[in-house]
Amino acid sequence: MNDALGMPQTAVVLGGTSDIARSVMRGLATRRLRHVVLAGRDEPGLEDAAKELKALGVASVETITWDAIDEATHGALARDVAGRMGQVDLVLVAVGVLGEQDICESDPSATASVLRTNFTGLAAAMVAFAQILRSQGQGRLVVLSSVAGVRVRRSNFVYGASKAGLDAFAQGLAEALRPTGAGVTIVRPGWVATRMTAGRSPAPMATTPEAVAADIIRGLERRADVVWSPASLKVLFALLRLLPKSVWRLVPG
């Protein structure tokens, strides 16, 4: 059951090894978390994350091998998780691949793979968990989107388009869940120093998984619809969206 300050007692993480997700779970573990399910592809990574949460005092942490692109398994996963937890308070959707933009531009299947992981697979998973939240009449779905989807750029438009799709889908799902008591929070971080971005040069206003996690937890407390991280990106992107294409092309990052 989520409490009045939005703190969950149970959580399922899709993409349980994500740096941002692990940071969020670490923060929530010190508050109310007692039952967590970590789902993902990287088994040793999931075990590692589970061990850490147990050490932080979370009573029950389970891991499930799961791939976002196996859409057929999503419904069963959601029902299985709900059965184990009783109430699913938080669904954190943290799956994401950056993809190699250069390769994607010449390889149709590489492009499709990024879109399928970041968008269609996750949209299907969100539908599966939305069913659970709807029947519970409570619970929150937190979706890691990105400012890359707010206005896509030449240098990473495949990743950007996948996030734009995910973001738009989450906005619609939020409206669909509004009358049910469940809710959706969309997180739009800027450039974050994670394993996903390792080896790439940081964009302006780069941030850390810890800072994004802190923003997400504050967002949970106020049941925010959208969390920008850092918060100043909200204003910045309101302006960037208005730039003429000829100028947008010249913006670094």
Partner: protein, 446 residues
């Protein structure tokens, strides 16, 4: 209704006028029964002073009916807009707890609908179930009717003594010394005052006024009782109007406005007991994010804990608008009934205050270590692990509860959040089931 819900596989909880600050009368995905349509008076003896009414009757209705006849509801909280059923479920208290105990001490019988059937219970008949229901947060059954003993009054007025206390020490000393001389006693605390003035307070202690105490207009119609809503907060201002600045200004004004010492000033019942009822929808002043109420009690020998809490709240600059301090008398036999002998402090804090969750978690530990507890009717965020320490007779209560509702049909969000309704045995079983299922699912490991 209970049977219908049970056969549909759904859970039920009753709701009165929804004045609980937390999630006691909410149930995500479950059935919430609005009891306010059950508002009939069944029987009364206005010579002996008792009434038998439906659980959905509000204290407001009772008072408007009974005060002109010379009777008062013996325990009233800070608002009249609570139902009899809710008053029993939360075992509410008032400014006279040190003298008269809590609401259920004045209930001589109640009719309780449980999944096993409807039963009539009295403190003498089925004491276990009666006291498990007193403060049982509606989780032992749905109160249908209750018989309440009344208090005889000659007038609809109070004689109020007001005095200022310069700090917490002073306030507690004044209350300890002379509370027993009054039927009603309470102190308003300025939570934003710091340092030397930490806990400065205005004490208001009172007795019911007799006819001889009245003069002029009020003597002409001594039992007139017709409180009005003077002002309605029409909208929820974005961001709210209550912040450290406005509250500090209000507190300064309120403290200075109070007389240093004033004796036996006649006031109406409503202005003494229910001042906030005159400001309709006052909760809107907190803005769309609302507020958290935090009320706890610590034993008399743990006064340091009270000081620690007040210091932390004061240092955090969280704008606590309403802070109320009171001395409780002895506890009644209810295992989940909140009041126990000691100091109780109630705080209203805007929910958006930064760091509020973490601070309240720390305060919980201070309270629990001092042998105190928080009030479940006001709770919306307690860490479930601390519940057993705060309510040591929780196991005893669970046994009675499980006896009347073995299938856990009576569930609220509060119950789910704090793990109140899951029977201990079943809790272990479901864990074991979860483990074996986790092992059997392909690819799932622990």
């Amino acid at each position: 209704m209970l049977t219908a819900a049970a056969s549909a596989g759904r859970t039920v909880v009753a709701r009165g006028l929804a004045r609980s600050y937390g999630d006691a009368a909410q149930s995500a995905g479950g059935v919430v029964l609005d009891t306010t349509a059950m508002a009939a008076v069944h029987d009364s003896d206005l010579e002996a002073g008792w009434v038998r009414v439906d659980a959905g009757v509000s204290l407001d209705t009772l008072m408007r009916w009974l005060v002109p006849k010379g009777w008062w509801v013996p325990v009233t909280p800070g608002t009249r807009y609570v139902t009899v059923g809710g008053a029993i479920a939360a075992d509410i208290h008032g400014k006279n707890h040190h003298r008269d105990g809590s609401f259920c001490s004045h209930v001589s019988a109640l009719t309780l609908a449980t999944p096993g059937g409807t039963r009539e219970i009295t403190p003498g008949g089925d004491a276990e179930l009666f006291w498990a229901t007193a403060g049982g947060m509606g989780l032992t059954g749905i109160v249908l009717e209750a018989t309440i003993r009344l208090l005889r009054v000659e007038t609809a007025y109070m004689l109020v003594d007001t005095e200022r206390a310069t700090d917490l020490e002073d306030a507690m000393a004044r209350m300890t010394a002379r509370d027993d001389e009054y039927r009603y006693s309470v102190a308003w605390i300025d939570c934003l005052a710091k340092g030397r003035r930490l806990g400065r307070a205005v004490l208001t202690r009172a007795e019911h006024a007799d006819l001889v105490n009245l003069s002029g207009h009020s003597a002409g119609d001594p039992l007139a009782f017709d409180p009005r809503v003077l002002l309605e907060v029409p909208i929820t201002p974005p961001g709210g109007l209550l912040n450290p600045l406005t509250v500090a200004a209000f507190n300064e004004m309120w403290y200075r406005k109070a007389p240093r010492w004033q004796a036996r000033k006649p006031e109406t019942l409503a202005s003494y007991f229910h001042p906030l009822d005159a400001l309709g929808s006052w909760n809107r002043l907190y803005g769309p994010r609302g507020f958290i109420q935090y009320q706890f009690v610590v034993p008399f020998d743990a006064e340091d804990a009270l000081r620690v809490v007040l210091e932390r709240v004061s240092n955090a600059r969280t704008a606590s608008f309403l802070a109320v301090l009171k001395r409780f008398g002895e506890a009644n036999p209810g295992p989940l009934s909140f009041p126990t002998a000691g100091w109780t402090l109630a705080l209203d804090i805007p929910a958006g205050s930064p760091g509020l969750g973490g601070m309240l978690d720390e305060l919980d530990v201070v309270v629990a270590e001092a042998g105190g507890r928080v009030y479940l009717a006001k709770d919306s965020r307690l860490r479930p692990e601390l519940l057993g320490a705060m309510y040591p007779r929780l196991g005893e209560w669970r046994e009675v509860r499980d006896r009347v509702d073995p299938d856990c049909r009576l569930v609220s969000d509060l119950a789910r959040r704090l793990g109140l309704v899951e029977p201990v045995a079943q809790h272990r079983q479901s864990r074991a089931r979860g483990q074996s299922r986790a092992r059997s699912t392909t690819g799932a490991r622990r």
